[in-house]
């Protein structure tokens, strides 16, 4: 089979991992799990040269310096620099337009953690096969808890290595999420996709013709600069901002899903990050100078100041850039709404 073209989405400015993650240095560029940043780990995951072509990174000008610094020696990598964020449909289309029509691309967000690389490769191979047959393929992350913050995918008719998608369900309430888990046919939509480049553009042109045309113009009028490619600002400004889920996946008749059980986490908040890190004695996870006394399942993450914790359970303490966050693991989902996080 021909090589898969990894297309790495590198944008966003999440507030949910504040105060570590900030506008100036968002989540993908931080070493949240292990020594490598999430962006570096995403590159590592698609580095097998027998399986993957050089990556195409799509990012915004605000993050370009981080991308170039961390891209390292990715031979043949290219960077598409978006003048402004226009959501995933446009980002993916930009890369698709610059690929041969028969190329298979693998869309990889760079703000997720995936523990099991070989399970990832296995799912990628199955997804690429289905994509080469004309399917628009989403990874279906094995749902392990009744999350209410994710989209769910209902699998239908079986296919080799996966299934047709019966329907998409946006963020359900907890009762519905529980019933999905019990049902067994639902998986999480992790935002990882495999598409034939030409097939994707055809479907986009069918369901969002204006968007497809605007992206085509932005590339046609764009300029290459070394490994960077700059779409035309003017044409880009006219692109609609829409997710690939809405613009294409929920519209097409050819949506498929490949099941993927690969230790995936969106690291959507400090509790999720706690769970992705390896715990030590008493379930505690420590990064930076800290002393814990009578603590269980406590995470301390400090960029310098010493943190002393006594008697706590299921609590996260984060010190970064002179800000201090202390939250229950359950409260971690409210971090994005804090004053500091919102006005960073």
């Amino acid at each position: 089979m021909s090589l898969i073209h990894p297309m790495i989405l590198c944008g966003g400015s999440g507030t949910r991992l504040w105060p570590r993650s900030r506008k100036a240095k968002p989540k993908p560029f931080l070493p949240l799990v292990g020594e490598r940043t999430l962006f570096e780990a995403t590159l590592d995951r698609v580095a097998n040269p027998e399986m993957f072509a050089a990556p195409i990174v799509v990012t915004g000008s605000a993050h370009l310096a981080h991308v170039e610094e961390q891209l390292g020696a990715s031979d043949g990598a290219t960077i598409i620099v978006e003048p402004e964020p226009k959501n995933t449909a446009a980002a993916i289309a930009l890369a698709a337009v610059r690929l041969p029509r028969d190329a298979v691309m693998l869309v990889c967000p760079s703000d997720h953690h995936i523990a099991d690389t070989s399970a990832f490769e296995d799912a990628a191979a199955r997804a690429a096969q289905l994509a080469s047959e004309g399917f628009l393929v989403s990874f279906g992350i094995e749902a392990k808890t009744p999350e209410t913050g994710f989209g769910y995918i209902l699998s239908g008719e079986k296919l080799e290595g996966g299934a047709r998608i019966e329907r998409f369900v946006e963020k359900p309430d907890v009762e519905t999420a529980r019933s999905f888990l019990a049902d067994g046919r639902y998986s999480w939509n992790g935002g990882i996709f495999a598409f034939g480049a030409g097939r994707f553009l055809d479907e986009l042109a069918k369901y969002r013709p204006a968007l497809a045309e605007a992206v085509g113009n932005a590339v046609a009028e764009g300029e290459a600069d070394g490994i960077r490619f700059h779409p035309s600002d003017e044409a880009f400004a006219r692109i609609e901002s829409e997710s690939v889920d809405y613009a294409v996946m929920e519209e097409t008749d050819s949506a498929a899903v490949v099941p993927a059980d690969m230790g995936w986490s969106d690291i959507g908040n400090w509790d999720a990050l706690y769970q992705s890190r390896e715990a030590g004695e008493g379930g505690n996870v420590v990064s930076g100078p800290a002393q814990l006394v009578d603590c269980r399942n406590v995470m301390v993450d400090s960029d310098g100041p010493r943190v002393s914790v006594i008697g706590l359970e299921d609590v996260v303490v984060v010190v970064d850039g002179g800000d201090i966050l202390v939250t229950t693991r359950e409260g971690a989902q409210k971090v994005g709404k804090l004053e500091g996080a919102a006005n960073q």
Copy 2:
């Protein structure tokens, strides 16, 4: 009645309010409750000129700068500067030697909080009366909880304004402490005393003759320097280090107690401090820049950095000098044993 001579003990280097309290700036010199430091509040408490003479402060050379800075305009105040800490028997004796034999002195620690000044004055008047009659008088703080960290006083035969002391009990176990509370005749020994100066020295000479003599020599060979008095280093070095409780109060036949219910707290740890401060909404107490979400009975005390707390109950967060402490209120008693507190 003649004026009472307040004698303010200003030493110690507690570790239990770390990281706020440090060797270089211990508890008495910090504004822990309200705007005034504990030392300033102690001065304020004995400032009524119809009742009190000018204060005598006994402190160590390490704390002299703090004392002089905070002493303010206390007309006629004097400072006895101890070359090294020698516990309370010696400190009190130093002041007693420099007073007329018929003077009544009121020994006031400066690391306590007393909410009700008029109840304090009332107890001081009763104690001074008994002291002028020859009793060695301890304030008996109304015991409100079965504390195991305090000494207890058992009241015996009634006296006008107080009672003879039947016995002293050092830090009891919790069962014993509970039985004391139920009994009703026990109070806490708060370290506040009233003595006739001559009477005190006589009893000290009777039970600790070497200590009494060494203090006498240290004063005789000492030197005045403005409002400061420096006991002789050499004579001082020979003084035994012993508490007034052991050296005199538990020995004398003339020990008396005056009951005092005056909102006293030794502010012995962060939980005690939380309880001494006025709580706002949800029982939370905030000092410094902080935002609390879904919190109850949480205290935040920051010397600068912003602290954000989500979802916690009965927790104290202290930020000071680049150190961060997060403890349950219950765990607060373990602060003194933290690495940072011990090796400050």
